[in-house]
Amino acid sequence: MKPSEILTPIKQRYGTAIQRIDRLDDRRLVLHVDAGALKSICRFLFRDLDARYIAGIGADDRPYSGRFMVAHNFAFDRDGLLASVLAMLPADAPEVDSIAGEVPAASWSEREFHDLVGIVPRNHPNPKRLVLPDGWPDRVHPLRKERPWNDRPDGYDEDRPFAFDPAPPGCVVVPLGPFHPTLDEPAHFRLYVDGEIVRGCEYRGFMVHRGIEKLAESVLTYNDIPMAAERICGICGCVHNVAYAQAVEQAASIPVPPRAEYIRTIMLEIERLHSHLLWVGLAGHILGYDTLFMHCFRIREPVMWIAEKISGNRKTYALCLIGGVRWDITPELHDELDQVLNRLEAQWRPLVSALLEDRNLRRRAAGIGVADRALIKEQGLIGPVARAAGIDIDCRRDHPYAAYDRVDFDVILAQDPDVWGRISVRAREVFESIRIIRQCLVKLPAGLLQAPIADELPIGRIGMSSVEAPRGESHHWLITGENHRPRRWRVRAPTYQNLQGIPAMIRDQRLADMTITLGSIDPCFSCTDRLETVDVRTGAVRVCPPEELRDRLRQRWNEPTTP
């Protein structure tokens, strides 16, 4: 289907409600619609045209158009099309009909723009705070342009506890997190447990926000942001780095030299390699199988070394600038990378065959954390979670970027929508990554690393980029702006969607399966939480001497506990 074939039915049904249609290119579409028709159009896209929901974006556009802006992004994976449905809201009454009733996957996005931009989703099914802490004053919305990036509003009560929903009758509350041996990052799940059976949960996360989006639109400039973007995530940072650069390049129509595209592909696949190897090890650890954990980490290590040789860092490669890359694959690195891949494949193949034939592990992991097709559709689950259920989506093929349209690879699928299927998908995807890197090394063209950019980037253009992170689709959406920085930049990490499926996945199964179910989406809380604006006491980084830390602790300790 071409964009026109999707547009025809929409135009027929909503002719007058659609103000303007921008075709950014063959694979990107922006529909400017009336705010009143937004809900109906979104439902039509999601239900009738079977689009996948990506993310909702709220933006404060008052300095430019005098209005607020809200957008919902959808993906037509079979057609390779990304669409943004965009509506403007009046500055004095930023309200819009909530689509979460029709499109459950939009629930968090709407709660988020309610918190951060102050756009109220009317009739939202669960209108609680998502991002901001409960002690944050009402009507202070950090992403509004009048708030400074290092704002600390009056009346912020840092010690106010979260207001949790009451537990259902007959259930005991077991808190999981923010600190738990298998949570590598803080998040809090308030589990309602009946014996060992989990009946439901409430999630409070967003504990590691760093205000990266606010920084990007107020402090940093276009070429600073890639470095901040890759600090969104400790394990798939390069994904954000590339996705951001691509969104800007698409918005400003900057052609990227082919060599740079191949190098981006190579680095993204190196990242997928080490991320998947890490995850299989962690899954083994969560399942009480430390031998697997140790072997995975041993096999993974050379990948980190070669990444360090290429970029100077094991992680955070600082790869992209707008229009190109910073690191080259020299002939020596070329050979060494080849050797690393050969060794990796030789070590990983026997391990995978042993792993996938292990009946004990299979019995342990099969049938738990089930996310069936219906749930995946409703909550917009992506990546290995979807592929394990046999849903054939992969941004590398569906929305090709970098050099993925020039290499040959298979999208790995499984027919088990459970933890076992996810283990199997990730373990086998490693071979595809190896295949992709090898092809890139063969095809790597000579040429520039960086496109020459002479002019300032145009203003007010929209860019969209989806990159297949190891955990699923990472989506970046931005509007270019003045002062060499975007007006608004929104990052939707894969875990943001996948976490929304967790309450349904853990329901009515044992507490013992909770951690591996959560682990099976490969959660990355820092990605999800990227956007806290609450900065902290001074806004400046300061090293706290141990004496002071001890004094503070002692002070806390001696304080009477507040009732």
């Binding site: 738990h180 298998t182 059976i197 019995r363 049938g367 349904a504 009515d508 044992r510 909770m514 951690t515």
Partner: protein
């Protein structure tokens, strides 16, 4: 130096020339008698109990230290990494460093914990396990206590560990602790049954509850080469396998370490323990492993008996500890090889697999004894194979049936709406 022997004190006042074989074999007993002899009459009774107790605790205390290092080293080998190799020669003094670390750590007690129970739980864990070490014969005449009902005593005191686990879980006032304690109780009680059933088979065949007599019942050799250990019979072999599977679960060893499954419930009933109390729990767990391993050696592997007549020159306790070492190595090997089970799988395995097979094994032992009267050529082999088939085939078929992978089905929400 007299080449035929050395001058030795054989008991109080006895002094004669003995060979090295006899010296090593009898040495520990003579040493005890000699020490007791010095004491006044009233203290002798106490000393006779105390000296073996101290000896057992000292030996197993040291073994505990060495076993922790051995475990980490062996696991390291399995996982393709070096393991501890810094403290002492080849890292073998690591346990001393760990002990010092544990001793100097802060002992944190939760504010809302029941302090008395919280304090008592580790002691209640360790003491009965140490008691159960008393009835195991470590060598010829080398047993701290030989009551007529040794085996019964072993299981009776051994089950006090469940109480300790629950005390720890309850007194910590932590939900994870309580969950761990509940798991521990469910698991230990479930697995005590197959454990006792397979021990019962031996009792039936040996005709005694005394562990010393059970070892003596396994003396001698078939055709002068194959030791008459119980493990050499089909029911004994099956019994040993059942016993070891149940023993791993009863002593909370991986892959049955659910009560403290750290990736699920943090530390189980030990979550709120730190410092030396934690170390005592740890020690109790290892002592438990030593005790069941020692019992397995006693029941099935001929206790302190040598595997060949010519090897009887080596001291009998040497053979016992060698076999014990093999058992411990087996535990470590299993830990490095298998992933942890889930609670329901664990209980299914205990109740649906080990328990029926344990009962069947009892039947097999009866048949074995019943067929003992056969006297045609090759009767022994026929009897052996018949009994092996009787336990082996059901074990394989039943296992296949239970292991059928169920995969996933559409989610059915049974409780919540």
């Amino acid at each position: 130096m007299n080449m035929e022997g050395i001058l030795a004190l054989t008991g109080w006042g006895g002094l004669r020339w003995v060979g090295p074989v006899e010296l090593f074999e009898r040495g520990p007993v003579w040493l005890r008698d000699w020490a007791v002899g010095w004491l006044p009459e009233g203290a002798k009774v106490w000393a006779e109990g105390l000296i073996p107790a101290v000896a057992v605790l000292a030996v197993f205390g040291l073994l505990f230290g060495l076993a922790t290092v051995a475990e980490r080293k062996l696991l390291g080998r399995i996982q393709n990494r070096p393991g501890p190799n810094r403290v002492g020669p080849y890292g073998w003094l690591q346990f001393a460093a760990d002990g010092v670390k544990m001793l100097t750590k802060e002992d944190v007690v939760p504010r809302s914990a029941d302090r008395v129970l919280h304090f008592l739980a580790p002691i209640v864990m360790l003491a009965p396990v140490a008691l159960s070490l008393a009835v195991i014969p470590y060598g010829r005449d080398l047993v701290a206590a030989d009551p007529r009902c040794g085996l019964l005593f072993f299981f009776a005191v051994g089950s006090a560990a469940e109480v300790a686990a629950f005390m720890a879980g309850w007194s910590s006032r932590n939900k994870y602790s309580l969950l761990g304690a509940m798991r521990a109780i469910a698991q230990m009680i479930s697995y005590e049954l197959p454990l006792v059933l397979s021990a019962l088979t031996v009792v039936m065949m040996a005709g005694s509850l005394s562990l010393v007599e059970i070892v003596e019942a396994q003396s001698g050799y078939w055709w002068g080469v194959i030791p008459r250990w119980h493990v050499m019979t089909p029911w004994g072999l099956a019994g040993l396998l059942l016993f070891m599977a149940a023993a791993a679960a009863a002593s909370n060893r991986a892959p049955f370490d659910l009560p403290e499954g750290e990736s699920e419930i943090i530390g189980g009933f030990m979550t709120e323990y730190s410092g030396f109390k934690y170390a005592i729990f740890f020690m109790g767990e290892y002592f438990g492993m030593f005790a069941v391993s020692g019992l397995a050696v006693t029941l099935f592997l001929g206790g302190w008996q040598a595997p060949l007549a010519v090897l009887e020159a080596a001291p009998s306790y040497g053979w016992f500890f060698l076999k014990l070492g093999v058992m411990i190595a087996w535990f470590i090997w299993v830990r490095g090889t298998l992933p942890r089970l889930r609670v329901d799988h664990l209980l299914n395995f205990g109740w649906k697999y080990l328990l029926p097979l344990g009962a069947l094994n009892l039947l097999v032992a009866m048949v074995w004894r019943g067929l003992g009267g056969w006297a045609f050529p090759g009767a022994g082999a026929v009897r052996w194979l018949a009994c092996l088939a009787m336990i082996g085939l059901p074990a394989i078929l039943w296992g296949r049936l239970l292991m059928r992978s169920r995969g996933w089905g559409p989610r059915v929400y049974r409780y919540a709406s």
